[in-house]
């Protein structure tokens, strides 16, 4: 167990370092991406640009700049180029909408994904299964931002039932928080529900043909007990890992598109705006945050796996 954690930790650090280096380099090689020119302003003289360059250390070698920036990232003192605001403060400010989005949508897609998947599997081939399959495939095939835009138009603008985007903190107005988050949750969940329902359906069908399920039936267990204790316990294991990784990606700003459609000012939107300004420090910190979330939750999922399924051993 300790050996597993140590190996996992070493791998995590290596991946995070590689990602930070890659992100830094992507923005280093962009032609016209010289931050000093943009920061000095449009009317700056070459001498002024040179001053900015020296003051921010852009004249130093790339590895030196990378190490300095990473040092500041770890200290929490890194500042964005364009607005010169502390990046980590900005991210802490944009975390509540993103976490609200991830938690709400995560619960919705897990619940309906599992429900639809199980219903589909136990009625395999019948009308309910076919209808749920159609719903799932339409969900998978619909871009979240298209769905979001339609929801905004019909429920927000035409019917005036729900607010037209924006974020209200939970602590200030719980009902307002709920109504503002409802459409983003739905728009984000639909594709995931489709994927989870499909994955679970095929897992359940696979498990149902196992010998131990036949044994369970043969010894007279009720169908409900066979399903819950024997089939679901096995079929849900891959769903755990899927959910962990998807949730991590959304927390880290992976729902950029939904955050922009509903103007939530979350981490993803912050990242997208920073990328558009070619502002390296915020992009670097957000990508590291996502990668961290994905890698940490990946490890947690592996440990959960071993707890849920005694056949899996962590030492490999």
């Amino acid at each position: 167990m300790i050996g597993f954690l140590a190996r996992r930790l070493a791998g995590m650090v290596a991946v995070l370092l590689a990602i930070s280096l890659l992100t830094f380099l992507i923005f280093q090689v962009i032609p016209g991406g010289d931050p000093a020119v943009r920061m000095a302003g449009r009317l700056a003289t070459p001498a002024q640009v040179q001053d900015v360059r020296r003051a921010w250390g852009f004249d130093r070698p790339v590895y030196d700049q990378y190490l300095t920036t990473m040092g500041k990232v770890l200290d929490g003192t890194v500042v964005s180029y364009s607005q010169q605001i502390n990046v980590e403060d900005e991210i802490v400010r944009s975390l509540p909408p993103t976490i609200s989005l991830a938690l709400g949508a995560g619960v919705i897609w897990l619940f309906f994904g599992v429900l639809f998947g199980v219903l589909s599997a136990i009625t395999a081939g019948r009308l309910l299964d076919r209808s749920l399959t159609v719903v799932a495939l339409v969900g998978i095939s619909t871009p979240a931002f298209f769905l979001g835009a339609l929801l905004l138009y019909y429920f927000g603008y035409r019917l005036e039932l729900l607010p037209l985007g924006g974020y209200v903190p939970l602590t200030r107005d719980p009902w307002g928080w709920f109504t503002h988050m409802l459409m983003p949750w739905l728009a984000l969940s639909v594709a995931f529900i489709g994927v989870y329902a499909r994955v679970l359906r095929s897992n359940v069908l696979d498990t149902m043909s196992e010998d131990y399920v036949r044994t369970a039936r043969a010894k007279g267990l009720s169908e409900r007990r066979v399903l819950v204790r024997h089939v679901l316990r096995n079929s849900l294991i891959p769903i755990v890992s899927l959910w962990g990784l998807d949730f991590a990606a959304v927390v880290g700003g992976g729902a950029i598109v939904i955050e922009s459609v509903f103007d939530l000012h979350g981490v993803g939107q912050y990242a997208a705006e920073s990328i558009a300004r070619l502002d390296v420090p915020p992009v670097l910190v957000v990508t590291l945050l996502v990668a961290c979330a994905v890698v940490v939750l990946g490890a947690v999922v592996d440990i959960l796996y071993a707890a849920l399924d005694p056949r899996i051993r962590l030492a490999r």
Binding site: S141, Y153, G252, G254, V261, G268, I275
Partner: protein
């Protein structure tokens, strides 16, 4: 097959082979042909592709305008009434259901139906190229990592880990914006910032781990099988074993991944274009058209509905077809 023992007659030629026989591919094909839904949705996708390929014909013969031609100050006659293409307040005309502006106009007075078909060509082209790139890289990486193991596997797997840890859209946007500014100079080929190859390359690379990892796993288990040992004992080289022993056993996995990746590539291209990191203006694509439409809502919902529904139709066609194909290739189902 053992030869018949001496003294026994060879079986009469009149006996037909049992109808269920044949190669696994023939069996799969038969199962596929039986599933009407699969074929219907495959047909839907083909219909969308054909429509988009006919874009120049539609533009020249029916709409009489190009995808980037502005008609912002013109009027159009619909059922005897003369209507402005774009109203003075900037609201474009909705679907006329006539040859001109069949699906309405956009804010620049361009014909939405013409742009939809030209945009579809771009979206489908980016999707197809991206799928090709994903599959080529993923098969290469998955097979090499799984077969040679050791250092090769270590390096390639870490590379996949790095790509995997970025959410696709974030990596895509970073690469897209970075490359959209200056294009990409690969030394041999130079890609300009407006080139369709750029979004295709980005989308293609982002999805590589999703295919390479399962392939690597499959190769890891295949390489321990007896037929690989047999090939090695016969003195075949690595290349020969890879090409004629391993690859044929991976074909059905690869084939199953193609429609899945095509659907995802089209969706990711739309997402990237929505964020301005995909296909670049004035080149239309379903994603850029959707982005324009969403910016103009609630003024003209047809600008959201038209490209959105077309995109869903194409992706749904691919997804249902791919689903049916997977069932057909998987003998257990």
């Amino acid at each position: 097959m053992t030869p018949p023992p001496p003294g026994m007659k060879s079986p009469p030629a009149a006996i037909k082979p049992p109808p269920a026989g044949g190669s696994p591919w023939r069996l799969a094909w038969r199962r596929l042909a039986r599933s009407r839904a699969t074929l219907a949705f495959g047909g839907l996708f083909l219909a969308v592709v054909m429509l988009c390929l006919l874009a120049p014909v539609y533009a020249r013969e029916i709409a009489h305008t190009g995808p980037n031609d502005n008609h912002i100050t013109e009027t159009v006659k619909v059922g005897g009434k003369t209507l402005e293409v774009v109203s003075p307040t900037g609201v474009p005309i909705g679907p006329t259901w006539h040859s001109r502006f069949f699906l309405g106009a956009d804010a620049n007075g361009r014909d939405v139906a013409v742009r939809l078909l030209y945009g579809g060509r771009n979206s489908l082209e980016v999707g197809a190229l991206a799928t090709l790139i994903t599959m080529l890289l993923a098969v290469l990486i998955g097979v090499l990592a799984g077969y040679f193991r050791g250092v090769t596997d270590g390096v390639l797997s870490r590379l996949l880990d790095v790509i995997w840890a970025f959410p696709p859209i974030l990596l895509g946007v970073a690469l897209g914006v970075a490359l959209a500014v200056g294009g990409l100079d690969l030394g041999v080929v130079k890609l300009h910032s407006g080139s369709l190859l750029l979004p295709a390359l980005i989308v293609g690379v982002v999805f590589v781990p999703y295919v390479a990892r399962p392939l690597r796993g499959q190769v890891l288990s295949l390489r321990r099988r007896e037929f690989i040992d047999a090939a090695r004992v016969q003195g075949h080289g690595h290349m020969r074993i890879l090409a004629s022993e391993l690859l044929p056993n991976l074909t059905s996995t690869i084939v199953v991944f193609i429609p899945l990746m095509l659907a995802n590539a089209i969706l990711l291209e739309a997402g990237l274009s929505y964020l301005g990191a995909g296909v670049q203006d004035p080149n239309p694509s379903w994603g850029t058209m959707l982005a324009e439409g969403i910016r103009l809502t609630p003024g003209a919902i047809h600008l959201v509905l038209v490209p959105g529904l077309m995109l869903v139709a194409a992706v749904l066609g691919v997804n249902v077809f791919g689903d049916g194909m997977r069932d057909a290739l998987d003998a257990r189902a």
